[in-house]
């Protein structure tokens, strides 16, 4: 009889005790905030008791993983103050003594260690599954060995330098060809003038330079 009464008391008292342990602003508890519609939009699943059970299981897994103790179970994660946000508070009790809470710092370490797994379990991210008080570690920036802009600059400056050299070389070659051509032409012209060949007609006599018309255009 006494045993039966004690058993009944335990059954009633345990949840009551659990309720005392888990409450809003519990010193060793964390508030969790979940934004399903923001994360998943149309594919958002409904948050019900089964999902809460899943959360308890995930947290138990996180505690097992961190402390490497196989004794954490779903009952060790106590949830309360659930709202339609969806948000709730949770505390973690020790597997050896259900009245003793695991300190906040240890819970934080466990959550940080398995954060990625917890997020993926619910198809959420650091932003949509928030543990208020546990800040997500920032993603390390991708630092390539050569900054990409340097590569683009290299390509551009290489093309421009190649173009400049090509143009300068071709200008130089053109000038050389022009000079060669002109010296040959000049000599021919002079010879023709001296020999008295004008307009292809062979004139008799020698060319008198005194009457050469040097100024093609009269300058006014």
């Amino acid at each position: 009889m006494l045993v039966w009464i004690l058993f009944l008391l335990c059954q009633v008292g345990a949840p009551a005790l659990a309720q005392d342990l888990c409450q809003r602003d519990a010193p060793n508890g964390y508030k969790v905030r979940i934004s399903l519609k923001t994360a998943l939009g149309e594919d958002a699943y409904e948050w019900n008791q089964s999902e809460m059970f899943f959360f308890q299981a995930t947290m138990a897994f996180a505690m097992r993983r961190h402390f490497q103790m196989e004794t954490y179970n779903v009952d060790n994660i106590i949830l309360c103050v659930q709202t339609s946000r969806v948000s709730f508070w949770f505390v973690v009790t020790s597997p050896d003594n259900t009245t003793m809470l695991i300190p906040k710092a240890d819970v934080e370490k466990a959550v940080r260690m398995s954060r990625h797994r917890i997020n993926n379990a619910f198809l959420l991210s650091d932003r949509t599954l928030e543990f208020l008080g546990i800040y997500p570690t920032l993603a390390a920036p991708v630092n390539p060995d050569t900054p990409p802009w340097l590569i683009v600059f290299g390509v551009v400056i290489g093309a421009v330098c190649a173009g400049i050299i090509a143009l300068l070389v071709s200008s130089l070659l053109q000038k050389r060809r022009k000079e060669k051509g002109m010296t040959e032409d000049g000599q021919d012209e002079e010879d023709m003038q001296v020999k008295g060949v004008e307009n292809g007609i062979n004139l008799d006599g020698t060319y008198n330079r005194g009457f050469t018309d040097d100024d093609r255009f009269t300058k006014l």
Binding site: T83, A140, F153, I164
Partner: protein, 619 residues
Amino acid sequence: MPEEGMEDNKEGEERPKWNNKAEYLLTCIGFAVGLGNVWRFPYLCQIYGGGAFLIPYLIALVFQGLPLLYLELAIGQRLRMGSIGVWNSISPYLGGVGVASMLVSFCVSLFYNTIVAWVLWYLFNSFQEPLPWSQCPLNHNNTGYVEECVESTPVNYFWYRQTLNITPNMETSGSLQWWLVVSLATAWSIVYICFVRGIKTIGKAVYVTATFPYLVLTIFLVRALTLPGAYEGLIYLFTPDWEILKNPQVWLDAATQIFFSLSVAFGGLISFSSYNSQKNNCEKDAVLVGVINSATSIYASIPIFAILGFKAHTNYVTCLNGNILALTNEFDISDMNITVENYEQWFDSLNGTHPSRVSDLKLKTCDLQTFLDQSASGTGLAFIVFTEAVISMPGSQVWAVLFFIMLFSLGLSSMFGNLEGILTPLHDLKLVPKWMPNELFTAIICLLLFLMALIFCLGSGNYWLEIFNSYVGSVPFLIIAFFEIIAVAYIYGIGRFSDDLEFMTGHRPNIFWKVCWLVISPLMLFVVLVAYVAVQAQTPPTYAAWNPDYVNFPNTEVLPYPDWVFAICVLLSSVPVISIPLVAIYRLICCMSGRHSKDSLHNNPNPYANEDYVVELLL
């Protein structure tokens, strides 16, 4: 270059010629259409009552812009020399106008190509995923984001810190930023490669640089009109506010905008038209260039403002979403129950039931109009506002690359005119030694400009660039243009000028042009000059400094110019134009001393005068 076809000018030298008319027109259009058409005109349109601004703008174009343009193209084409040679020919006393043009072109080339270098830097950085100005970098122990970035915005941080590495004030010069030096070297190399063979290579380059911006603007137009918020942006831009026309500042800004936009008084247009054959209809060219320049400004403002409307809309939605999240978290309302549409109702009901809790949240007031009012012009528009808008567009890299290539083409084609305004006068003054090939001379000038422009790559470089932009790129041009028009209309003589125009175009200029050259344009220029100087004198010489330690950071700190800087500002405004009176005085002195010598025959040999037959009348 004998195979390209030569024409002799008065000195009997070979003057290069344009391959075809299209190259000449595209070069002039490219010179006139520059960065200002994209980032200055839309801003003016916005602050001066949208569609109403077009009235003073078009009036200024017709009565001031087109006559000046026609004048410059005509004298260049007729006298077939660069700016110094042309003004020496018109009147030796006004040779200083050409020198002033050249000096001003020199100073403008310095800072203009630095802006092109900044555009190149952003272009190089646009080939990354994600864009570097879309997120803050982490601080050195990876615990959080860099504080300066968090307090301002990632876009501001990228511009002021990672690009300029700006110092808190002008006295601190900082050091040379190597990445900016590299970009500047690239910019000058590209300018040099286009100038290597003078107008031959420029003529080829402008087929791309002058037409590409129009292609990009059209692409942006199509894209921007499909973005949310574009419609609001366009309405905001074009809604006319007729009351604004009563403000004289509007008329002043319209006149200065047209003037600086057409790039007259640089000497570049004179140089370009001097390579034409004399029998070219420069009247049609001038009207075409002027009208296309203004049309481009108006056309460019449409996609710019559609995108700014989109940006304002995005900022508005972000602001509202921040408030929604705060309310949702505070009152544990179901996720996504409060939306942008029903925010007002939720806010009113929550504020009614729990006013103290709502006020504790310190929600921001989100007003679309405030976001639309956040306008910017100049580098602020391109490097801060537009880059922020581009992040929110899907496929940001493509839009960023297109945008910066467009800005690069606009800047490069304007640089052609700037540099031409320096090189051609130097050639005409015969300052180039005979043994030096043109390519080497151009290279030396480009190298010299690059080395001098390194001051803009210092930490305080942006502050110096603003000074150059405000003091060199404004008043000297107005003064030069005023002297240009007085010189041609009154000293050269409108009759002689009309004869030249008849020779070139086949008909005398009609009454409109004559009235403009004689009365309207000089008057308008004089009024604009006086008003501009008066307004500048009234505004205290201050600058906006980016100081992370400032109390009101991220607002910029308004600091006064140090005295030595202000002295430099005054020098920059006055030294280019001081050559006008200096040369006049020098020529006057020479002329006076010339008259005192024995015969005038030595100064002005007349080949037909034979002294032996002069009968001296002794009365």
